[in-house]
Symmetry: D2
Subunit: 348 residues, 4 copies
């Protein structure tokens, strides 16, 4: 399938179908409907038809499809956003690729590398484009850090720290199907680590525990983790994860290079500082990913739509979706075996 | 004319016409088109027809009207945005009111209080709603400061400072028709002062000069000013204006109250801090009002659309458009006569 | 009298007598005793003999003199620190000058320009050195700002703001003999304004009131003030004074120049930031001048001792003591007459 | 030997001898001479007699002893400061203890636990007091963090990060005798980790490399390290060390607790912020430990002198000197064997 480059660029909209009308599906639908005039949502579907209908009404989507199959069969649709639950991603990627449509898929593709490889093979065979939903790459803070590393502004990187803490743990029911903290939460940070340094991790060491809620431990998961990354180029990095930061969403990175360091702070709802008889204080940081990463969600979709329309490779490809899953597997194996684990040990 | 309250609220869009397709007209058109599903632009006009056509294409506006008269005659249009040059505001308000349509008008209404009073009388007579474009009230920082004052978080206010500096002076041609720095630039700060303190200014003293560009002085204007405000409730305030801040747009306020202070910092494109061998530094603040106040422009229109649809009074009324003009007149008179001037001396 | 320059420099200590063992006398005695090996306190006196004896014991001062006359008659003493109450300063300067000893005198010299002129004439006649205790010039923050202006780091200065607020008002008894807020509190800021800009103020406008404590008003004084300064070189400045800042001592300056701005923040007891479920906060700034300006007190005495020993002019001379008093007189006159007042009107 | 408690407290000075007149010896001598009136230096010695004489002259020390033996034999001396090179510490502690004098000894006591245990046994037998020179515990920032943990201000600690980077590597000659980065540099951070959390580390994992200077690697040492600490109470911590931070000395900690986090920033020579056409920037942080930790050096000696005079246990005891050495041994073993190492494996 061809892109729609050329003199039609400014008028011809990209026709999109959306599978999944849950939380992230709604974010993407609103971006497409209200902020991206160059795209048009043709149809949406969800196993919860009511959710799909409500979102269709809100975003002026003309058709609520009965199934993903109906989306894939729609000749008008050029690209599909897969926003359904993780266990459906790999199959939907494969089917969408076979239908000759470009794909935007939320992370992670799957919990197993075999499934991922199968899906990526289908994408390659079909010659369609695939973008994985690692939205944080499009965040102004992290993009600025990547810029500093890529341009040599801080010299060659030596040490990297990612702090990524949720305001509170998800419901236990979700924890049980989430694939575990490394697959569900750290996956973003694994992607961020590769993105920021511009190199691959070869070994991972995990120190972790259950500090927030014993029930998370009873479910076989962890809620607090410190992961050490050794990159091929010698950079040493850490990821600090916790399911509970009482002050809100904590999303920071810091890189020390041979010529300087760059560090980001959290984002706040305003820049007001109050000084009273007790302390000098500000309001809490933006509370969670929907507020914190609003703009990055819009930017990633704009990037996807642009890539398809201009026939360029997407900024976050299938392999970018595969590697963080391998890293998550290695992180868990390191925890289980209490030793550093090389990515190649888990098929990474 | 009635609002459109009631059970039609969630489905019936507010039909809007726009007069003026320049810089600010474009901002509002984009907000309405892409971010406010509850409004719909029916028609747009501009004395530069090409500008109107380009914006209509970009924002899917179905009609480019030949004149403002055509807009005012359009029965479908319920509300009009007046985004044309300042010298047309008062007349257009009057005509729009007579046409029975609600009005959103950019600041200032006019440079003379007589013209303003004439326009406001027409609005009152027609019983339509009027909102003046003091967008900064809808900015998260200033709204937070107002909240602190209104709720007593910092006690009773005693001292207030507004710093409001442009990154660079406007073209000299613009300076000559701008009405002067107090009418063009300080007008926003006069509104902010009233809004933040929640009280009226009774006396103004101005110290000012030409420090940025002698040509501005040759044109009879000033480019650097310090204005002292004495409020009825005894609060003392200052406004610091300069047409040139080499580091970009500088927009801060600070209020000292009996129980504490609140101060705002500028807004930045990112929260990254770079430390190298020379300094610890950040990128420059957001460069000018289009970047800095993006969200406030969207919020003010949302507020306007909501007020009309729900038949409530707008958040920035006609009198809020009149008083800052009186303050600008007093500020200039104080400079000319080198003494404190009471607002009542200029008809305020 | 000669300095003690030359090869004796490293061994010969400067012999000092101190008049006044109150709060500021104690600060200076401790600096000399414990931090300035190049000086030696020979004797101290105070109208409260017990205070002098206690301080002598603490600082190993060998002699407690019965009177200032005894200090001035002591042949060994080369320099005298006048730390007694303001009403004694002018006379003591005159007598110390006549005794041929160098002088360090706390601010202000006197509340009247006549008294000051008399004292400065005696200093000139005697050919001794005089340094006035404007310690803030020696503070790291303000010295950094002065450096930026003096070197052109921010271009030519255009606007200046000084914020100077006490944590709470002094006892009413003190207020009544203090000479008023401009003479007692703003005097430091008047000096700072001249020091930072490196130019003289020619006109002052004052807006002020009683906002903190009505008793201060009943005593004929003010507790909240905003003073506008117009410098000869066209710079416009403000001083913001309040007798009560509930969050502690607030001491900041900001200067906008043609090429940039420089602004200082308050000083804190530590650099820790706590984020909890309610806010992101720090401890309060250093509470008052004894903590905030500790190092500047040590630096000003070091500067004085060095100037005397190396036969150089002191960094803060008699005229630097006179001008802020004239500025205080003009500020009050402006308040009383509700108009801008030129310094020359008060003999400045 | 007894302390000197009781009614002599305010007059009787603690008589001190100093062994070592190098960099740190000079810091301590100046503190005692100029800032601690309750102590008196009786004698000093150094293998470089000239250095001892210069320091004696500067600090008014009456006697330059020919050897440490002469110091230990001096009946007047009650306490000895051991500021000589590390390889002499253990022996000098033993001899000083045998001489019945209290001891302040710089860190580390020795590179081997056997030597340390031998020295500590002598101290115990003699019944004298011993304080180890972990000055950072007395720093305002770290004391504030400890306070937050100890009082439960941030709840129970879960994750801890220490960043500790030097502005540049020491001379290679020093590196070779330093005992390696963990014994020379991280030793402070090991102490800080125990101090802040108030619990013991049971396991260490090290990721490290040579990133700054290959010569450091050729000397068998490392210059960049990330050390993971697992505390008995389940807290997970990291230490980030680098021999080169191009922007100066970087000394920060952060702790996430169940109720909040506390984080410290670096210390700066001033609080001025410059905004120009390129960036918003500050001067660099305080450059190295002599500037950064000035006050903590004074506080630790004051604490030592007070403990001796009041017959209390010192705040940093012999065991506090032993454990960080065991941690350094474990950190190196972890690096060498590429696995987590329990402290008990190295005799910790």
């Amino acid at each position: 399938m061809k892109g729609i480059k050329g003199d039609t660029l400014s008028t011809q909209k990209l026709h999109i179908g959306i599978i999944g009308a849950g939380r992230i599906g709604r974010v993407h639908a609103e971006t497409l409907a209200f902020r991206l005039p160059e795209a048009e949502i043709v149809a949406i579907t969800d196993i919860n038809r009511e959710a799909a209908e409500a979102l269709a009404a809100r975003c002026n989507i003309p058709k609520v499809a009965a199934s993903s199959a109906e989306i894939l069969a729609d000749k008008q649709i050029e690209a599909v956003l897969i926003c359904s639950s993780t266990n459906t991603h790999a199959d939907l990627i494969e089917q969408t690729a076979k239908a000759g449509k470009h794909i935007f898929c939320e992370k992670p593709i799957a919990f197993s590398l075999e499934q991922i490889d199968h899906a990526l093979a289908a994408v390659k065979k079909a010659g369609v484009q695939l973008q994985i939903g690692f939205n944080r790459r499009f965040d102004a803070n992290f993009a600025r850090v990547r810029h500093a590393v890529a341009t040599g502004e801080i010299g060659a990187p030596n040490l990297m720290h990612i702090i990524s803490r949720d305001p509170g743990p998800p419901p236990l029911a979700y924890v049980k199907v989430s694939g575990g903290i490394f697959m569900d939460m750290t996956i973003h940070d694994f992607d961020m680590a590769r993105f920021l340094i511009g190199d691959e991790v070869e070994e991972i060491y995990t120190a972790a525990g259950v500090r927030v809620d014993p029930e998370i431990g009873n479910a076989g998961d962890l809620d607090t983790a410190l992961i050490v990354l050794r990159f091929r180029n010698g950079v040493i990095g850490t990821i600090d994860n916790c399911r509970k930061a009482p002050y809100g969403y904590d999303q920071r990175v810091e890189i020390l290079g041979s010529e300087g360091k760059i560090a980001t702070e959290n984002c706040y709802p305003n820049q007001a500082v109050v000084s009273d008889g007790k302390s000098v204080h500000t309001d809490l940081p933006l509370n969670f990913f929907m507020e914190r990463y609003t703009e990055s969600f819009a930017s990633e979709l704009k990037s996807f739509v642009t890539a398809i329309r201009e026939e360029q490779t997407t900024e976050v490809t299938g392999i970018d979706g595969r590697i963080p899953v391998a890293m998550a597997l290695a992180a868990r194996k390191s925890y289980d075996e209490h030793r550093p684990v090389r990515l190649e040990e888990v098929g990474g």
